[in-house]
């Protein structure tokens, strides 16, 4: 006798997370995620070409290239595919037109992105450390990548809810606000996932002194700061989601 098992009913937030994972791991999106990870490993190889100690060389490369370039760009791809691109295409209406509260939608989308992004980038950054010959910094790189990813994705989700051209605005945020203003102004760097993720890594990995910034929190204090950025950005995204004007892809 054959028993037909009806598909189980999932809680809405679980459905949103599973759905987000599905749309992000589909087709060419894989390439968009795999490319930054491969780049991270390549930067690890590049660190070998430097002439100081492997851990110092990796710290230099990681703070500049991994946390300054790979992390934000990868998170931008993930954050945009988790929400922004759906809002632009019009397919977000399937999610929005439900009784699920906006905060659950925002949290579910963020969780989906953070699971994939955090997992992949943590592994890639750790692998990069190993390839650079600084295996002792692998854990620290992974932790900093994971927390940095969480904060970045929350920020990019919020940007996706706030503006229509989310990818362009996110790029502007990374390169103009974080890199340009953040380098000069401590106030900006303190609310920047990139600078804070770098501060987590440099402190935990006991990196060279020239990489420390006195004017922003370091180590575990930076982790707390990243969590705070995540919470605030998710709150903003939730509020904005409940006030979205979804006029469709043609408008």
């Amino acid at each position: 006798m054959t028993t037909v098992v009806a598909p189980r009913r999932r809680p809405p937030i679980v459905a949103v997370v599973v759905y987000t994972l599905g749309i992000m791991l589909h087709g060419k999106r894989w390439v968009g995620l795999a490319l930054p990870c491969a780049t991270a490993v390549l930067f690890g190889l590049l660190a070998r070409a430097l002439e100081s100690s492997p851990s110092e060389d990796f710290a230099q490369v990681a703070s500049t290239a991994l946390f300054g370039l790979v992390l934000p760009v990868a998170c931008l791809v993930i954050g945009d595919s988790a929400l922004g691109s759906e809002i632009r295409s019009g397919s977000f209406a399937f999610t929005w037109l439900s009784p699920v509260p906006a905060w659950q939608i925002a949290l579910g989308r963020w969780l989906g992105g953070a699971i994939i992004g955090g997992g992949m980038l943590a592994v890639a950054f750790a692998l990069s450390a190993v390839v650079a010959g600084a295996a002792e910094s692998a854990d620290e790189a992974a932790v900093a990548a994971a927390f940095g990813t969480m904060a970045y994705i929350a920020v990019f989700l919020a940007i996706g809810c706030l503006v229509r051209r989310a990818a362009a605005w996110s790029l502007a945020y990374v390169f103009l606000v974080e890199r340009l203003l953040g380098a000069a102004l401590a106030g900006i760097a303190q609310i920047s996932p990139g600078w804070e993720a770098r501060a987590v890594f440099v402190e935990l990995a006991n990196g060279p002194t020239e990489l420390f910034r006195d004017d922003i929190p370091q180590g575990s204090a930076a982790i707390v700061r990243l969590v705070a950025i995540t919470v605030v950005a998710l709150g903003l995204a939730s509020w904005r989601l409940s006030h979205l004007r979804l006029s469709g892809s043609t408008d």
């Binding site: 599905g22 749309i23 999106r29 009784p99 469709g248």
Partner: protein, 319 residues
């Protein structure tokens, strides 16, 4: 009957129905300087209502306002007594099939239906198969929608909307891309849903299909309510607008010059060998035309109204 008044009286005006499930009260929506809807007032009840208007008339904006996707700048939208914008529980009762061709990437029709069912905490999962069967997508239910044609995507979206078992079903150009057989099947489905007591609001550019499925029509032009009621009733009410009748006969010129002398005839013109008669008094012409032809000994091969369709109604309302 038609409504051309901006402030209709609900009790008499055909823009309103008794026992309305969707009420639109003096709704205005604008995007910057562009006014998409202007003081629109109407209501929708059980059955199929066609939403008609030329491109840019405000149909999609109205549909999105009804589902709560768009906030209104002025006025009020109520679905089953609830504001769909401020009360998310309203989304249990209302479903939208958007015009956008986009479907979630990597998903199958069954996956999309399951996702919607999860979001709505639908207890009876057999409704997923029922919905897929209703739109004839069971054979491809587990294929990814990325490779689907426009028509198949539309049907997938209709299935996802049906999974919610909605009281109000809003369909924005749902027949786009569907082949003739599928069009007939979908029209039949929408009629059936309307007969079940659901409020089905459907917009389409293929107007003869709307005529065949909607017993009631709301016409929007430039964001305003232009007319409401049955399409024949609307047409009849527009008695100041000239109608055009094509007459095919052996001696069109002799018949034309004779008809031109009649009071019921506004003018005559020729399209090749055919005669086109313009009139604002169609009933009188219907009597006078065969009589005149008989008097002249001319045999009428064909007499056909040129503008008794919603396409022509659009043209006249827009003019």
């Amino acid at each position: 009957m038609s409504s051309l008044s901006p402030t209709p009286t609900p009790a008499q005006d055909p823009a309103f129905v008794p026992d309305a499930t969707v009420s639109i009260t003096d709704v205005s929506v604008w995007f910057g300087q562009k006014v998409a809807l202007s003081e629109l007032a109407c209501s929708f009840g059980a059955g199929v209502t066609g939403l008609l208007g030329p491109n840019g008339a405000g149909k999609t904006t109205l549909m999105r306002a009804i589902t709560g996707l768009l906030p209104v700048n002025q006025g009020n939208v109520l679905v089953a007594g609830v504001n769909p914008r401020s009360d998310r529980s309203a989304h249990r009762r209302v479903a939208l099939v958007p015009e956008d061709e986009a479907v979630p990437r990597g998903l199958t029709p069954r996956g999309l239906c399951r996702y919607v069912a999860d979001l709505h905490q639908v207890a009876d999962r057999s409704i997923i198969d029922w919905a897929l069967h209703a739109v004839d997508l069971m054979p491809v239910a587990d294929r990814r929608m990325d490779g689907f044609s426009k028509g198949m995507r539309q049907r997938s979206k209709v299935a996802a909307a049906l999974v919610k078992n909605p009281l109000v079903l809003v369909l924005d150009e749902p027949l786009n891309g569907a082949d003739p057989v599928q069009r007939l099947a979908l029209i039949s489905l929408f009629r059936r849903l309307g007969d079940e007591g659901r409020t089905v609001i459907v917009s389409s550019h293929v107007l003869h299909e709307v005529e065949s499925m909607a017993e009631r029509v709301i016409v929007i032009v430039r964001g305003r309510l232009a007319a409401a009621g049955g399409h024949h009733a609307i047409r009849d009410a527009m008695d100041t607008v000239p109608r055009h009748v094509l007459v095919r006969c052996a001696d069109a010129r002799r018949l034309g010059s004779s008809l031109a002398t009649l009071e019921a005839v506004g003018g005559v013109s020729f399209e090749g060998m055919d005669l086109v008669v313009s009139t604002t008094r169609a009933r009188e012409l219907a009597v006078a035309l065969p009589q005149t032809a008989r008097d002249l000994g001319i045999r009428l091969a064909e007499v056909r109204p040129l503008d008794d369709s919603l396409e022509s109604l659009f043209r006249e309302l827009v003019r």
